[in-house]
């Protein structure tokens, strides 16, 4: 590591410059005042020998790495990509790098991977939407300092950054109800997904606020394929009076959109469709997809802010939830015949 300079050590530099290793270190770190002449000689030697200090040796002394790890279930998910991007850029500003650990959706390995990743770093970011809460709690305590993403963990001493899915779904339902829809459907995400549970709570709250509204639940998933697969069920629901569909996320919505078109369903003419997350592609869909925008990179940056505080020995900062913002686009509109059922 850092061995591109093929084993040139600080002692080599010291010898070459005719000073002690300690002086070289001083020159390197500017900790104490050192004779200008020595500075000059050391710098010359460093340049001549092509020396670059071993970060590992430094880490051993300092007890830290300036590296943090992020554990994600799937690197191909746009949400995590955005968070990773935001985190990695923000961390870089403080001289930290981010190590990624993709658990490939294998929930069983998540814990081991997290622990292992933590060993290599100063802190951890945990994205584990499927991990059972009890297990997550134990894990979070074990790998501290850690920031948890998108998992409410009441009364646990862990900073949490997340999305207010409950509120997001409510706002989305409000949008659709405002357009005149009274009979909706929600295509659910993975059963074990915590954020799906949140969304379902949002659905319940929305129902409580709109007594005249009905919301069917259609079992779905989290990927475009799931959206395609659920299309027939959505068509059935549409025949039964549903005029608007909310998909678990944009990926599902986009898959659904593609299949609905092939099934001859006009969106939004016959049926409104909305997604969640506002992935980059949402606005280029046909029709452009209405979605709830989530500040992915901002979340990553916020995660870093908390991580940095923690690493510096600071207090555990308060949970922060981002309220998704409605991006009303073409895929949702007023229903053809208002107030079909209720």
């Amino acid at each position: 590591m850092g061995d591109r300079s093929r084993g040139v050590t600080i002692s080599d530099v010291a010898a070459h410059a005719g000073v002690s290793p300690a002086s070289v270190s001083r020159v390197l770190n500017g900790r104490a005042s050192v004779d200008p002449e020595i500075v000059r000689k050391v710098q010359a030697s460093i340049a001549t020998l092509g020396y670059s200090p071993s970060l590992v040796a430094r880490s051993l002394v300092h007890g830290r790495n300036t590296t943090v790890a992020m554990v994600v279930p799937d690197l191909e998910n746009p949400l995590f990509q955005g968070i990773l991007k935001g985190l990695s850029l923000a961390a870089a500003d403080d001289g930290y790098r981010v190590l990624v650990a993709d658990t490939a959706e294998r929930a069983d390995d998540e814990e081991a991977i997290a622990v292992e990743a933590r060993q290599r770093c100063d802190a951890l970011v945990l994205c584990a939407p499927r991990m059972p809460e009890a297990k997550l709690r134990r894990l979070a305590e074990r790998v501290a300092p850690v920031v948890v993403v998108n998992r409410p963990l009441p009364d646990l001493d862990v900073p949490i950054v997340g999305v207010d899915y409950v509120r997001g779904i409510r706002d989305l339902v409000d949008h659709l109800v405002g357009l005149g829809h009274r009979h909706l459907a929600y295509v659910t995400g993975p059963e074990t997904s915590a954020s799906n549970a949140e969304r379902l709570r949002g659905v319940d709250e929305a129902l409580a606020m709109h007594p005249s509204v009905r919301i069917e639940r259609i079992p779905g998933g989290s990927r475009p394929e799931d959206g395609e697969a659920v299309a027939p069920a959505v068509v059935d629901a549409h025949r039964a009076g549903v005029t608007a569909v909310i998909a678990f996320n944009d990926l599902v919505a986009l898959g659904l959109l593609a299949r609905l078109r092939e099934l001859g369903v006009d969106v939004p003419g016959e049926l409104s469709v909305a997604g969640f997350d506002d992935v980059p592609m949402a606005r280029y869909a046909t029709p452009r997809l209405t979605s709830m925008s989530v500040p992915r990179t901002e979340i990553g940056a916020q995660v870093w802010a908390r991580l940095r505080t923690l690493i510096g020995g600071g207090p555990i900062e308060h949970t922060v939830l981002y309220r998704p913002r409605l991006e009303a686009r073409e895929s949702t509109t007023a229903p053809a015949a208002v107030g079909a059922s209720a």
Copy 2:
């Protein structure tokens, strides 16, 4: 790092077990045979004290990290995401982790970031599509062991894994010509992009093979916004006789598709559109986008294979180029009026 066990060191374990640190190390690494009784005691002490060895200290001794870094211009690009995923999964199988360094498209910082990232790791993966070749060559030598992605660097002792864009474009043109198109357009990528240069070579070669075919060049970009922006120019080209458009990549194609629809252009009825890369969303576009499929995660795995060889002191393996595979979908079809111009 690994300090979740709050400073429990190997000496603590040794003291607690009443043996020497060396023995603890032996038990931990199973290097030599050691008295079963000692093994038992050590393991008990480890469990009791909650000891976990410092990976940093180990790294210092061994001179390696079991970590590699991947430098990318933009983590939000689906191509790099796929490669990162493939790399990270393949590396994990060998106990390696991947550190990401997003250069945020700042070409000027790329070199410094690469060098810095390299210091932390045993090896580097370089994705630098915009870096001038001379600079890249110097950098590649400096940060070895390294694998370069998607950049042909003839006569340089560096393993390269990439995509045969030249061939890909030729195949794509063949597809369109096979459908009956004679007047095409290529929406170019960023001027400094190496893979754009490759694609342009593909265009030239295709022209050489199809004397009756014309291919316009329309300045574009690499993102969906660029695709949208270029739509009017594409429409103009269409009016001038172009019946099929190849976009630099799928992102551009998807942006273009969205805008064309709004401009009232029927794809593929009036105009065929094809992309490149076959990003996950391509098949869910409207119409489903014809594209050249690139094995993203496979590339990542292949990169790891080469990196591993290099780290192990093995030889520099041969360059490998993946030939993109045509994914013919709905967005390309025979032109309305065959053989308009030539």
